[in-house]
Symmetry: D2
Subunit: 155 residues, 4 copies
């Protein structure tokens, strides 16, 4: 499957008063996974997508989150094992794309998905903040990381 | 409309490196709005719902977020004026309910919705963590705060 | 006493896995109290200090935290009553000042100090980031809010 | 030197509106470094201290932060290189100890200390929350990680 993998450390402070990793922290994990994939290019795989979303040009394309949905499947406990965010492109439009994710518990013996998520992203010009089309090269780069849309219980 | 209103202070630290209130902070606002409505009963209106979701009985019903979707409509700037979370019940099932929200910018001259959201909540027993039905009184209390489902652009 | 008072809402998310307001959140409270005092001028009292620390001029003086010490005296529980930050100037140098604080539990029957803190601040030029002297007017404004240094157990 | 090293990932969300890692995040890093050292034992070195501070016994000794001081020396920029917390025991009392730290910028070419800190810790019984003496074994274990007190500019 054309998914990239981002390993993220948990922090004790990600927990809430119930002693579980708080659902707000999941949104933080998704943000970090996007930053590492689209800006730093520091995930497990070299996707090359970071060359098209950030660079020396501050007027280059930026990503705005227009809509984000997270489905919480299991409780996640703090521990020293990193979680893994599996991230891929679920949909690619003219000036928008959908980032799909599965969050995998690093401490579980078998691959255990604790959450699924979708971020609807609008690509905008860094100066005018108006939607713009990705370059052909950017489009080709992103296309390599498309996969089947994540399936959530709720439509 | 049967909506309850929760006024929330922004914090300078809610901002991200772009100088806007970060999208992760929105999830924090929704959490706080739920806590004040369902546990503290400290919103603008006395809804009475807090009598049915928390009490002296630790085995009483608890609320688990199963799915949460946020639609981001406008940038929110930090300032001294509180935002207002308009919160209502968009759907009421046997052992689940949907909390719907609109986040209103307190600094805008006219009522300006900066985000819409839906949290799908499962009501569970505080000890077994198994889904349970709300009591008839709890159900009646919640029903008073039902309103039309929030409309998002994305399904 | 020449102290200004800033009332801050707690958030349920300020709690840690122990079910208490986490010590890291205290640093957030101090930051917010400084922002409201020195930039927004939105505390209980109109101190006027905000006219000298921020304005239309991005090259105006900025405040950098060089050192911060917090003494934790009592556990703070989340609730609907705001806490109050009592804030004053404990020391005023040429291009630096010390902000001193007491954090007061809003839910306690009597005035209960839960923490004391000192932030050592360097005043810098917004462009060069080099230390600069406050203007005479700024100095006079700040001087009105000087009070005895807070006393901590640890030197 | 008898210091243990804890490598911590930065998160994009650690930044504030100035685009720098926020000073509140530093307190979060110190917390995480303590948790990994004293509870998880997951730092670079196997210190063994975690055997004495947490275990199967919830009534075992707990650590309360009584006072924390952080000196900020340099701006820290977000990036993919982890920071390193160098942590040691600067002082060891009967039922208290001081954790001393230097935070080292992982992206700098040479060893660059961006902050220094001291946490004054009281060791308490997990049930009564009263100060207790460390066991002789715990004391011996901790003693191995003592080093010269960190030097701050401010007393």
């Amino acid at each position: 499957m054309a998914r990239t993998h981002i390993d993220l450390e948990l922090r004790w402070g990600d927990q809430d008063a119930y002693g579980h990793v708080n659902n707000v922290a999941y949104a933080r994990f998704l943000e970090e996974a996007r930053v590492r994939t689209f800006w730093l290019g520091s995930g497990r795989e070299r996707t090359g997508m970071e060359r098209h979303f950030r660079g020396d040009d501050p007027a280059g394309p930026k990503m705005l989150v227009a809509n984000q949905q997270i489905e919480f499947l299991r409780v996640l406990e703090y521990g020293e094992r990193p979680i893994t965010i599996e991230l891929w492109i679920g949909k690619l439009g003219g000036s928008s794309l959908e980032v799909h994710y599965e969050i995998v518990d690093g401490a579980a013996e078998e691959r255990t998905v604790v959450a699924r998520a979708i971020s609807q992203i609008v690509i905008v010009d860094g100066v005018t903040m108006r939607p713009i089309r990705l370059s052909d090269e950017g489009r080709a780069s992103v296309s390599e990381w498309m996969d089947e849309p994540v399936r959530m219980r709720r439509g």
